[in-house]
Symmetry: C2
């Protein structure tokens, strides 16, 4: 149980083992649906039978825990009586060569926002999400929960250094557009139908200015009311769905 | 202090007093910035001086509490040492007569989603948000927090019965478009430049079918991947920003 607690609470432990924890029947079911390889499933009496049957059918080891153990270990306030350990799902950066819409996170720090971002990215048809150094770990339990299973469907890349990532992505022909709360081009006036990577920054500080040289431009969502009224997950959703809209539109 | 706790934890208490609680310097500052009338500000030693000075300058009673009291009362896990009581900000439904973009919530049940929805609505230039019976109370402490001050800038209407609300709004000439996870018209193919009210439903169950007769149509956001991948706050943001886009576009 110490291992589960460590994997839930410490990124360093997750990185060292390249493994993370899924909490609750919903997300474990999502993982099984998506054919994700699970190392083990941990349950107490009362866990949903269907989940256990499916885990067993998928050849996953199922271990029973004493009553109360999961509740003590879990990150959630009202945990469901199932935990599972899965291997990191990291895709190689090279996957971005083959996608036409990508999101690059630089310093996105809120785990809930990162989860919402993944969820919206999946819905918008984003082909890859790259998380550079300084961005939240997508295997954080809060991110896993907020992603609502999107983590199993959108390829996620642990990107490393942002400048190096953007240089490679640019070399592959994607247009790298930084999301700026103000001062960029109106995102609806920018051609987003070609290969595009939206580069999104920290909730409070935006993108590091030093990144400017590694970008092909900046886009801004014109806002009524006060500035910076959108969270990074919502802003990314709006950008990605505008790209999807332009791609559905008949070309002149 | 019992009153503060009651106002934080029970909608019925808020409704009876027509008052709600703001937690933390950020949101209290936002309220003062917006010229919201505060009944009282409660602090312990260590509260931000600037907030107190401004509250006093605005003629608001400032009351000191014994150390630890706010921490025991507050809804937040890491409370900031300031609470304030404000009167309900409800606008009358008639305000919708004068707006060209409105959001009507029917059964939106998650307080965080409702807060994000308010925040995005403000940013998209929505003129009014109507919360019908069965929708979360916008004065829920989680909604107040997630709205990030938008509650002070977007008129919010406590709507009552959804059918009655939609009938009146329709009579005023707004096109009432229900948001449907599937089966509606592609939202980017619908003319959203005229007076429009988006009608959004419960996170899990959508809009009640009986509401169909009170709607002028349904709109759907085409999604890649699995169905229902967007939360109601994000979906509302995408719809409202598409309306904003169409309104900026030069008319043919």
């Amino acid at each position: 149980m110490k291992r589960l607690r460590r994997l839930l609470s410490r990124r360093r432990a997750r990185d060292a083992e390249q493994a993370f924890v899924l909490e609750g029947t919903t997300i474990v079911d999502e993982a099984l649906d998506a054919g994700i390889e699970l190392e083990a499933v941990f349950v107490t009496a009362g866990a949903a039978e269907s989940t256990l049957d499916r885990a067993a059918a998928a050849g996953v080891a199922v271990r029973e825990l004493a009553p109360g153990v999961i509740e003590r270990v879990a990150d959630t306030v009202t945990p469901q009586p199932v935990l599972a350990v899965a291997r990191y799902l990291d895709a190689p950066l090279e996957i971005v060569q083959d996608v036409t819409l990508a999101v690059v996170c630089v310093g996105v720090s809120d785990p809930g926002n990162a989860g919402t971002l993944l969820r919206s990215a999946e819905a918008a048809g984003v082909g890859a999400v790259v998380c550079c150094d300084g961005s939240v770990d997508v295997y954080n339990p809060k991110t896993v929960r907020a992603s609502a299973g999107a983590l199993f469907h959108v390829p996620v890349v642990a990107g490393g250094d942002a400048v190096a990532v953007l240089d490679r992505i640019g070399g592959w022909g994607l247009r790298r557009l930084g999301a700026a709360p103000s001062g960029g081009d109106d995102y609806t006036n920018v051609d987003l139908a070609g290969p595009t990577a939206f580069v999104v920054g920290n909730e409070a500080h935006g993108l590091p200015p030093a990144l400017g040289r590694s970008l092909d431009g900046h886009v801004t969502i014109p806002m009524a009311g006060r500035a910076e009224s959108l969270n990074v997950g919502t802003a990314t959703a709006i950008l990605c769905f505008e790209a999807a809209r332009q791609r559905r539109e008949p070309r002149p």
